[in-house]
Amino acid sequence: MSQLTVVLEMTRYSKYIMGVILFGVVVFGIINTLFMSLYERMFEFGVLRAVGTRPFGMARVILFEAGALAIVSIGLGTILGFVLTGVLAHVGIDYTGIEMMGVTMQEFIYPVLEVQQFIIYPIWVFIFTLIAGLYPARHVAKMAPVDAMRRSF
Protein backbone atom coordinates (compact mmCIF):
# COMPACT_ATOMS: atom_id res chain seq x y z
CA MET A 1 0.00 0.00 0.00
CA SER A 2 2.82 2.44 0.85
CA GLN A 3 4.28 1.69 -2.55
CA LEU A 4 1.09 2.83 -4.15
CA THR A 5 1.35 6.05 -2.17
CA VAL A 6 4.82 6.54 -3.60
CA VAL A 7 3.49 5.97 -7.10
CA LEU A 8 0.73 8.48 -6.58
CA GLU A 9 3.22 10.95 -5.12
CA MET A 10 5.44 10.41 -8.16
CA THR A 11 2.54 10.96 -10.48
CA ARG A 12 1.69 14.21 -8.86
CA TYR A 13 5.29 15.31 -9.02
CA SER A 14 5.66 14.44 -12.67
CA LYS A 15 2.39 16.21 -13.35
CA TYR A 16 3.95 19.41 -12.06
CA ILE A 17 7.05 18.97 -14.14
CA MET A 18 4.93 18.23 -17.20
CA GLY A 19 2.89 21.30 -16.41
CA VAL A 20 5.92 23.55 -16.21
CA ILE A 21 7.33 22.17 -19.46
CA LEU A 22 3.97 22.50 -21.18
CA PHE A 23 3.56 26.06 -20.01
CA GLY A 24 7.07 26.86 -21.17
CA VAL A 25 6.32 25.48 -24.61
CA VAL A 26 3.02 27.31 -24.70
CA VAL A 27 4.55 30.65 -23.70
CA PHE A 28 7.23 30.24 -26.34
CA GLY A 29 4.59 29.32 -28.91
CA ILE A 30 2.48 32.34 -28.04
CA ILE A 31 5.38 34.79 -28.27
CA ASN A 32 6.33 33.23 -31.58
CA THR A 33 2.79 33.39 -32.93
CA LEU A 34 2.34 37.01 -31.88
CA PHE A 35 5.67 38.04 -33.37
CA MET A 36 4.97 36.25 -36.62
CA SER A 37 1.60 37.90 -37.04
CA LEU A 38 3.23 41.19 -36.06
CA TYR A 39 5.99 40.95 -38.65
CA GLU A 40 3.50 40.08 -41.34
CA ARG A 41 1.71 43.34 -40.65
CA MET A 42 4.73 45.46 -39.80
CA PHE A 43 4.00 47.95 -42.52
CA GLU A 44 0.39 48.45 -41.43
CA PHE A 45 1.52 48.85 -37.85
CA GLY A 46 3.90 51.53 -39.08
CA VAL A 47 1.03 53.32 -40.79
CA LEU A 48 -1.11 53.22 -37.65
CA ARG A 49 1.80 54.62 -35.70
CA ALA A 50 2.49 57.29 -38.32
CA VAL A 51 -1.05 58.60 -38.41
CA GLY A 52 -1.06 59.17 -34.68
CA THR A 53 -1.69 56.00 -32.69
CA ARG A 54 0.05 56.31 -29.34
CA PRO A 55 2.71 53.75 -28.40
CA PHE A 56 0.42 52.19 -25.80
CA GLY A 57 -2.40 52.05 -28.34
CA MET A 58 -0.16 49.85 -30.46
CA ALA A 59 0.78 47.65 -27.52
CA ARG A 60 -2.89 47.27 -26.69
CA VAL A 61 -3.58 45.76 -30.11
CA ILE A 62 -1.07 43.00 -29.40
CA LEU A 63 -2.38 42.42 -25.88
CA PHE A 64 -5.93 42.14 -27.21
CA GLU A 65 -4.73 39.62 -29.74
CA ALA A 66 -2.98 37.66 -27.01
CA GLY A 67 -6.19 37.74 -24.98
CA ALA A 68 -8.25 36.58 -27.93
CA LEU A 69 -5.76 33.82 -28.63
CA ALA A 70 -6.01 32.71 -25.00
CA ILE A 71 -9.81 32.70 -24.98
CA VAL A 72 -10.08 30.70 -28.20
CA SER A 73 -7.43 28.23 -27.02
CA ILE A 74 -9.08 27.87 -23.63
CA GLY A 75 -12.45 27.26 -25.29
CA LEU A 76 -11.08 24.61 -27.62
CA GLY A 77 -8.87 23.07 -24.94
CA THR A 78 -11.68 22.85 -22.44
CA ILE A 79 -14.03 21.18 -24.89
CA LEU A 80 -11.34 18.77 -26.02
CA GLY A 81 -10.32 17.96 -22.44
CA PHE A 82 -13.91 17.52 -21.37
CA VAL A 83 -14.81 15.19 -24.20
CA LEU A 84 -11.60 13.18 -24.02
CA THR A 85 -11.72 12.73 -20.27
CA GLY A 86 -15.44 12.00 -20.43
CA VAL A 87 -14.94 9.26 -22.98
CA LEU A 88 -11.96 7.76 -21.16
CA ALA A 89 -13.80 7.89 -17.86
CA HIS A 90 -16.32 5.64 -19.53
CA VAL A 91 -14.14 3.17 -21.41
CA GLY A 92 -11.09 3.43 -19.19
CA ILE A 93 -7.41 3.24 -20.05
CA ASP A 94 -5.90 -0.20 -20.29
CA TYR A 95 -2.91 -0.22 -17.96
CA THR A 96 -3.17 -3.91 -17.07
CA GLY A 97 0.16 -5.60 -16.74
CA ILE A 98 2.12 -2.36 -16.72
CA GLU A 99 4.52 -2.16 -13.90
CA MET A 100 5.58 1.02 -12.19
CA MET A 101 7.86 1.16 -9.15
CA GLY A 102 7.19 -2.47 -8.45
CA VAL A 103 3.45 -2.07 -8.51
CA THR A 104 1.73 -3.94 -11.26
CA MET A 105 -1.53 -2.51 -12.48
CA GLN A 106 -4.30 -5.01 -12.47
CA GLU A 107 -7.17 -2.97 -13.72
CA PHE A 108 -8.22 -0.32 -16.11
CA ILE A 109 -7.70 3.25 -15.02
CA TYR A 110 -10.71 5.49 -15.16
CA PRO A 111 -9.86 9.19 -15.26
CA VAL A 112 -12.09 11.45 -13.20
CA LEU A 113 -13.23 14.86 -14.35
CA GLU A 114 -12.17 17.45 -11.85
CA VAL A 115 -14.12 20.61 -12.37
CA GLN A 116 -11.46 22.49 -10.48
CA GLN A 117 -8.95 21.79 -13.26
CA PHE A 118 -11.24 23.36 -15.77
CA ILE A 119 -11.17 26.57 -13.78
CA ILE A 120 -7.65 26.85 -12.48
CA TYR A 121 -5.78 25.93 -15.67
CA PRO A 122 -7.74 28.24 -17.95
CA ILE A 123 -7.07 31.12 -15.57
CA TRP A 124 -3.38 30.27 -15.62
CA VAL A 125 -3.38 29.98 -19.38
CA PHE A 126 -5.04 33.37 -19.70
CA ILE A 127 -2.61 35.06 -17.32
CA PHE A 128 0.42 33.41 -18.90
CA THR A 129 -0.71 34.31 -22.39
CA LEU A 130 -1.08 37.95 -21.44
CA ILE A 131 2.32 37.92 -19.76
CA ALA A 132 3.81 36.30 -22.85
CA GLY A 133 2.13 39.02 -24.91
CA LEU A 134 3.91 41.77 -23.00
CA TYR A 135 7.16 41.21 -24.82
CA PRO A 136 5.85 41.62 -28.39
CA ALA A 137 3.57 44.41 -27.14
CA ARG A 138 6.54 46.30 -25.80
CA HIS A 139 8.34 45.74 -29.06
CA VAL A 140 5.47 47.30 -31.02
CA ALA A 141 5.22 50.26 -28.67
CA LYS A 142 8.92 51.03 -28.99
CA MET A 143 9.09 50.59 -32.73
CA ALA A 144 9.94 53.73 -34.69
CA PRO A 145 7.33 54.37 -37.39
CA VAL A 146 9.96 54.88 -40.10
CA ASP A 147 11.57 51.57 -39.33
CA ALA A 148 8.24 49.82 -39.56
CA MET A 149 7.43 51.49 -42.87
CA ARG A 150 10.88 51.24 -44.39
CA ARG A 151 9.37 50.33 -47.74
CA SER A 152 8.03 53.79 -48.48
CA PHE A 153 7.66 57.02 -46.56
Binding site: F43, E44, V47, L48, R49, A50, V51, G52, T53, R54, P55, F56, G57, A144, P145, V146, M149, R151, S152, F153
Partner: protein, 233 residues
Protein backbone atom coordinates in the same frame (compact mmCIF):
# COMPACT_ATOMS: atom_id res chain seq x y z
CA UNK B 1 -0.99 82.88 -53.09
CA UNK B 2 -2.44 85.40 -50.69
CA UNK B 3 0.08 87.04 -48.47
CA UNK B 4 -2.43 87.75 -45.75
CA UNK B 5 -2.72 85.90 -42.48
CA UNK B 6 0.08 83.51 -43.13
CA UNK B 7 1.86 81.80 -40.34
CA UNK B 8 4.92 79.62 -40.38
CA UNK B 9 3.73 76.05 -40.06
CA UNK B 10 7.11 74.42 -40.50
CA UNK B 11 10.49 75.89 -39.72
CA UNK B 12 13.66 73.87 -39.96
CA UNK B 13 17.05 75.05 -38.85
CA UNK B 14 20.22 73.25 -39.84
CA UNK B 15 18.47 69.93 -40.20
CA UNK B 16 21.04 67.23 -40.74
CA UNK B 17 20.54 63.50 -41.00
CA UNK B 18 23.29 60.97 -41.04
CA UNK B 19 22.34 57.33 -41.49
CA UNK B 20 24.89 54.97 -40.06
CA UNK B 21 23.72 51.78 -41.69
CA UNK B 22 26.41 49.09 -42.00
CA UNK B 23 28.97 51.38 -40.39
CA UNK B 24 29.20 53.62 -43.45
CA UNK B 25 27.73 57.03 -42.63
CA UNK B 26 25.40 58.45 -45.27
CA UNK B 27 24.68 62.15 -45.13
CA UNK B 28 21.08 62.23 -46.26
CA UNK B 29 20.52 65.85 -45.23
CA UNK B 30 23.18 68.52 -44.78
CA UNK B 31 21.83 71.51 -42.92
CA UNK B 32 18.44 72.30 -44.37
CA UNK B 33 16.94 75.66 -43.40
CA UNK B 34 13.41 76.07 -44.59
CA UNK B 35 10.23 77.87 -43.71
CA UNK B 36 6.86 76.67 -44.94
CA UNK B 37 3.89 78.95 -44.49
CA UNK B 38 0.29 78.01 -44.07
CA UNK B 39 -1.66 77.46 -47.25
CA UNK B 40 1.38 76.69 -49.37
CA UNK B 41 1.22 74.15 -52.17
CA UNK B 42 4.84 73.16 -52.33
CA UNK B 43 6.71 70.53 -54.25
CA UNK B 44 9.95 69.03 -53.05
CA UNK B 45 11.93 67.81 -56.03
CA UNK B 46 15.34 66.39 -56.69
CA UNK B 47 16.96 63.22 -57.95
CA UNK B 48 16.44 59.94 -56.22
CA UNK B 49 18.49 59.81 -53.04
CA UNK B 50 18.58 63.59 -52.64
CA UNK B 51 16.87 63.37 -49.25
CA UNK B 52 13.20 64.15 -49.99
CA UNK B 53 11.74 61.23 -48.07
CA UNK B 54 14.15 61.75 -45.20
CA UNK B 55 13.14 65.40 -45.00
CA UNK B 56 9.42 64.59 -44.98
CA UNK B 57 9.99 61.96 -42.29
CA UNK B 58 11.82 64.45 -40.13
CA UNK B 59 9.39 67.35 -40.43
CA UNK B 60 6.56 65.02 -39.49
CA UNK B 61 8.34 63.60 -36.47
CA UNK B 62 8.45 60.08 -37.92
CA UNK B 63 12.21 60.26 -37.68
CA UNK B 64 14.52 62.50 -35.72
CA UNK B 65 17.34 64.60 -37.17
CA UNK B 66 20.95 63.92 -36.23
CA UNK B 67 21.35 67.64 -35.80
CA UNK B 68 19.24 70.75 -36.16
CA UNK B 69 15.78 71.73 -35.04
CA UNK B 70 12.25 71.44 -36.39
CA UNK B 71 9.29 73.56 -35.38
CA UNK B 72 5.90 72.30 -36.37
CA UNK B 73 2.92 74.53 -35.71
CA UNK B 74 5.08 76.43 -33.24
CA UNK B 75 6.37 73.47 -31.27
CA UNK B 76 9.82 71.92 -31.26
CA UNK B 77 9.45 68.28 -32.29
CA UNK B 78 12.50 66.98 -30.44
CA UNK B 79 11.13 68.24 -27.14
CA UNK B 80 7.99 66.11 -27.29
CA UNK B 81 7.38 62.75 -25.65
CA UNK B 82 6.20 59.71 -27.59
CA UNK B 83 2.56 60.31 -26.70
CA UNK B 84 2.73 64.04 -27.41
CA UNK B 85 4.31 63.38 -30.77
CA UNK B 86 1.64 60.80 -31.64
CA UNK B 87 -1.14 63.19 -30.70
CA UNK B 88 0.57 65.96 -32.58
CA UNK B 89 0.75 63.88 -35.76
CA UNK B 90 -2.86 62.86 -35.31
CA UNK B 91 -3.99 66.48 -34.97
CA UNK B 92 -1.66 68.32 -37.34
CA UNK B 93 -0.44 66.05 -40.09
CA UNK B 94 -2.21 64.17 -42.82
CA UNK B 95 -0.08 61.61 -44.63
CA UNK B 96 -0.42 60.49 -48.20
CA UNK B 97 2.01 57.74 -49.03
CA UNK B 98 3.22 56.57 -52.39
CA UNK B 99 1.82 53.09 -51.88
CA UNK B 100 -1.58 54.33 -50.58
CA UNK B 101 -1.04 52.40 -47.36
CA UNK B 102 -4.62 51.74 -46.46
CA UNK B 103 -5.21 49.13 -43.81
CA UNK B 104 -6.35 46.12 -45.87
CA UNK B 105 -8.58 44.59 -43.20
CA UNK B 106 -10.56 47.78 -42.67
CA UNK B 107 -13.28 49.06 -44.97
CA UNK B 108 -12.91 52.39 -46.75
CA UNK B 109 -15.02 54.08 -44.11
CA UNK B 110 -13.04 52.54 -41.26
CA UNK B 111 -9.77 53.58 -42.87
CA UNK B 112 -10.93 57.16 -43.27
CA UNK B 113 -12.45 57.46 -39.81
CA UNK B 114 -9.50 55.93 -37.96
CA UNK B 115 -7.81 59.20 -37.00
CA UNK B 116 -11.12 60.69 -35.82
CA UNK B 117 -11.59 57.54 -33.75
CA UNK B 118 -8.23 58.19 -32.11
CA UNK B 119 -9.25 61.77 -31.48
CA UNK B 120 -12.49 60.66 -29.83
CA UNK B 121 -14.93 62.11 -32.36
CA UNK B 122 -18.45 60.68 -31.77
CA UNK B 123 -19.65 57.95 -34.13
CA UNK B 124 -22.41 59.86 -35.87
CA UNK B 125 -20.15 62.80 -36.59
CA UNK B 126 -17.42 60.50 -37.83
CA UNK B 127 -19.81 58.89 -40.24
CA UNK B 128 -21.07 62.20 -41.59
CA UNK B 129 -17.59 63.55 -42.05
CA UNK B 130 -16.37 60.40 -43.78
CA UNK B 131 -19.25 60.47 -46.23
CA UNK B 132 -18.77 64.19 -46.91
CA UNK B 133 -15.04 63.72 -47.40
CA UNK B 134 -15.47 60.73 -49.71
CA UNK B 135 -17.93 62.75 -51.76
CA UNK B 136 -15.46 65.59 -51.92
CA UNK B 137 -12.78 63.30 -53.37
CA UNK B 138 -15.25 61.86 -55.85
CA UNK B 139 -15.86 58.52 -54.15
CA UNK B 140 -19.56 58.32 -53.40
CA UNK B 141 -20.89 54.91 -52.46
CA UNK B 142 -17.67 53.07 -51.74
CA UNK B 143 -17.65 53.54 -47.97
CA UNK B 144 -18.41 49.88 -47.27
CA UNK B 145 -15.96 48.42 -49.75
CA UNK B 146 -12.59 46.99 -48.89
CA UNK B 147 -9.49 48.75 -50.24
CA UNK B 148 -8.55 45.78 -52.43
CA UNK B 149 -11.82 46.14 -54.31
CA UNK B 150 -10.77 49.58 -55.53
CA UNK B 151 -8.42 50.68 -58.31
CA UNK B 152 -5.09 52.31 -57.51
CA UNK B 153 -6.43 55.78 -58.23
CA UNK B 154 -9.46 55.16 -56.03
CA UNK B 155 -7.27 53.85 -53.23
CA UNK B 156 -5.12 56.95 -53.41
CA UNK B 157 -8.29 59.06 -53.19
CA UNK B 158 -9.24 57.16 -50.07
CA UNK B 159 -5.76 57.87 -48.72
CA UNK B 160 -6.27 61.57 -49.46
CA UNK B 161 -9.64 61.46 -47.74
CA UNK B 162 -8.03 59.78 -44.74
CA UNK B 163 -5.31 62.42 -44.63
CA UNK B 164 -7.72 65.34 -44.89
CA UNK B 165 -10.80 64.31 -42.97
CA UNK B 166 -9.51 65.43 -39.61
CA UNK B 167 -8.56 68.82 -41.06
CA UNK B 168 -4.87 68.69 -40.20
CA UNK B 169 -2.59 71.69 -40.47
CA UNK B 170 -0.43 70.10 -43.13
CA UNK B 171 -0.73 67.38 -45.71
CA UNK B 172 2.51 65.59 -46.47
CA UNK B 173 2.65 63.44 -49.55
CA UNK B 174 5.65 61.39 -50.62
CA UNK B 175 5.47 60.90 -54.38
CA UNK B 176 1.68 60.61 -54.33
CA UNK B 177 1.29 60.13 -58.07
CA UNK B 178 4.25 57.81 -58.64
CA UNK B 179 2.13 54.66 -58.78
CA UNK B 180 -0.67 56.15 -60.89
CA UNK B 181 -1.14 56.60 -64.61
CA UNK B 182 -0.80 60.19 -65.78
CA UNK B 183 -4.52 60.80 -66.27
CA UNK B 184 -5.36 59.56 -62.77
CA UNK B 185 -2.41 61.49 -61.38
CA UNK B 186 -3.60 64.68 -63.07
CA UNK B 187 -7.13 64.26 -61.70
CA UNK B 188 -5.77 63.70 -58.27
CA UNK B 189 -3.51 66.70 -58.45
CA UNK B 190 -6.34 68.89 -59.56
CA UNK B 191 -8.35 67.64 -56.64
CA UNK B 192 -5.56 68.40 -54.18
CA UNK B 193 -5.32 71.88 -55.69
CA UNK B 194 -9.03 72.41 -55.18
CA UNK B 195 -8.89 71.14 -51.59
CA UNK B 196 -5.91 73.39 -50.92
CA UNK B 197 -7.82 76.39 -52.25
CA UNK B 198 -11.01 75.49 -50.39
CA UNK B 199 -9.57 74.58 -47.02
CA UNK B 200 -6.32 76.54 -46.89
CA UNK B 201 -4.53 73.42 -45.70
CA UNK B 202 -0.82 73.35 -46.40
CA UNK B 203 0.37 70.78 -48.93
CA UNK B 204 3.92 69.57 -49.26
CA UNK B 205 4.74 66.76 -51.62
CA UNK B 206 7.87 65.20 -52.95
CA UNK B 207 7.77 64.28 -56.59
CA UNK B 208 9.57 63.25 -59.73
CA UNK B 209 6.54 63.99 -61.80
CA UNK B 210 6.94 67.05 -64.10
CA UNK B 211 3.18 67.53 -64.07
CA UNK B 212 3.18 67.84 -60.29
CA UNK B 213 6.09 70.28 -60.40
CA UNK B 214 4.24 72.29 -62.98
CA UNK B 215 1.25 72.76 -60.75
CA UNK B 216 3.16 73.64 -57.58
CA UNK B 217 3.29 77.22 -56.38
CA UNK B 218 6.64 76.73 -54.79
CA UNK B 219 9.36 74.44 -55.99
CA UNK B 220 12.13 73.41 -53.64
CA UNK B 221 14.94 71.44 -55.22
CA UNK B 222 17.10 69.23 -53.07
CA UNK B 223 20.50 67.99 -54.15
CA UNK B 224 22.74 65.85 -51.98
CA UNK B 225 20.76 66.74 -48.92
CA UNK B 226 20.91 70.47 -49.45
CA UNK B 227 18.54 73.03 -50.88
CA UNK B 228 19.69 73.68 -54.41
CA UNK B 229 17.00 76.14 -55.38
CA UNK B 230 13.77 77.52 -53.98
CA UNK B 231 11.43 79.31 -56.33
CA UNK B 232 7.97 80.65 -55.75
CA UNK B 233 5.84 81.18 -58.80
Amino acid sequence: MEQTQQTDVIVTEGVTKVYAADGIPVNALNGVDLTIQSGEFTALVGPSGSGKTTFLNIISGLDSPTDGKVWLAGKVLSEMSGNELSDFRRDHIGFIFQAYNLIPVLSVEENVEYIMLLAGVPKAERHDRVIAMLTSVGLEGVADRMPTQLSGGQQQRVAIARAMVSEPTIILADEPTANLDSKTGADLLEMMHRLNAETGMTFIFSTHDPMVMESAQRLITLRDGQIDSDETK
